[in-house]
Point group: D2
Chain length 160, copies 4
């Protein structure tokens, strides 16, 4: 996607606890079958930051052919979650506690969701997510709370 997105200004300068954080985030994302279902791809992983790209498809739309607001929430949720997960120890997993999303403009195009940690914490992390359309339109903004589960596998229990 060659979108004229705004520059990722003020990217947080975080020191990841796990040097292999990017591979770990990518492996976890690959287990999110819901991302496969909607056709989302993880297109950037930095410490405290990730980007998810979602090509437009009619299957993702609501009644007026715009991308469903819940789909916007899905990609922003995962982008924020993995931004936070990138800073966590290799032995942890995490859960979404809550998120709030404002839908700023209807979207009928490819999308990019950017998640950024604004406060990493021992137990709770707070992240901000922003969704942009291919033409740079700011489509949605999210504020999210995540909780780290120390020493808990990030895989299905029955697979452990």
């Amino acid at each position: 996607m060659n979108a004229p997105l705004p520059a990722v200004s003020t990217l947080p300068k975080f020191q990841p606890k796990d040097p292999a954080f990017a591979a770990r985030v990518r492996a976890s994302f690959a287990r999110q079958q819901a991302m496969v279902l909607i056709g989302a791809r993880l297109t950037a992983v930095e410490p405290g930051y990730t980007e998810i790209s979602l090509p437009y498809r009619p299957e993702l739309t609501q009644q007026k052919a715009y991308v469903h607001g819940g789909i916007l929430g899905m990609i922003a949720d995962s982008a924020c979650g993995y931004a936070a997960y990138s800073l966590m120890p290799a032995t942890s997993s995490l859960v979404t506690v809550e998120y709030k999303i404002n839908i700023l403009a209807p979207a009928k195009s490819d999308l990019v969701a950017r998640g950024k940690v604004i406060r990493p914490g021992r137990t709770l992390s707070i992240a901000r997510g922003d969704v942009y359309a291919a033409d740079g339109t700011h489509v949605a903004s999210m504020l999210q709370t995540l909780m780290m589960l120390a020493d808990t596998p990030d895989t299905p229990e029955d697979a452990a």
Copy 2:
């Protein structure tokens, strides 16, 4: 689904402006291709209230095989939106302004999302959504703001 869900207590007593509200809501829901994608069905429509059922499928899960938090948001978003839409005039359409969802428990089962209008308004409506698992577990709670677009078709523009 024969779930021991809590009773739908305190169902609001609203007088719909459009006597054909239920058919209109069902027709609009049927145009939400994103609901088809995830396998969600609209299983109840009352004035100011709707219910959406979602059978569990591995395709809906995150990395630990629980239903993705964004999917919980999707069904609660649509349930709240159609609860509000049921009270609007036949000539209107609506958009989601924002929503906030707390995830109360991880879910690995069939789900029901219930949306209920808590304040209908001329321009803005506020709705509450709750998602329950098949065993009655309260899985998520949402608070949502919707905006009515007067005299605007609830169909894709290019199809109007």
Copy 3:
């Protein structure tokens, strides 16, 4: 206040861990100088539920003489927080992680804020708050996340 408020239906049935929870909640509330500043009083404490009453005063208003939206947030925040605190062990304290509030109607009257736990947890609790005017009007609705701090005094550090 002889307000025709809606019945406190579906009051949660919680078993407090601390039999002296009500006295502990009242003592903590009494240390909230911000509640004294605005004239708020704690008028009910049950397991997982509290009620805060706020008489109308011009000092609490915004530019149009309605009670300031931030004041609505303050009393709902404290009502939810103490609802959660009532269920916690005597040796803990708690912090507000986040809250979201919808303002449903402007208010120019005495107010009551009700906080109710919807999910008590070991670390995180989720509560719902509702603010009503003296005539029963539903003024605001809140969804809030709180975090328990185990074995931490609920008093100023320098006083410990």
Copy 4:
């Protein structure tokens, strides 16, 4: 306050509809008696941006002597609201629809709340608020929805 606050990067470039926006915003703020009650001052007004300063006082605190979370909400609410109001026509007034705030760190110091419009709209505007402590600590982050009321006085009705 000589605080090492982060630079106000990416200040939005908005063209105010009302050339006298700053005076109008200041006059409206001066009518917010709740801001007087807590000792808050409006210390910057730009198109789509305002800043509110709040000196620390024990009267603003919760049970552990930190500034009450509701007080953080109050100043962020007003900062966001006036950021949006600065872009509106002189004949309009506005109401807060809803806000969500994450409390990122406890605060026991002077505070600054910055409100910034992220999407101005004909009816609804979305703003982001951030609260900082005197030492630059990021204390809270808000996402807020506001509604413009066209041709409605921004003064008490009985005074019109």
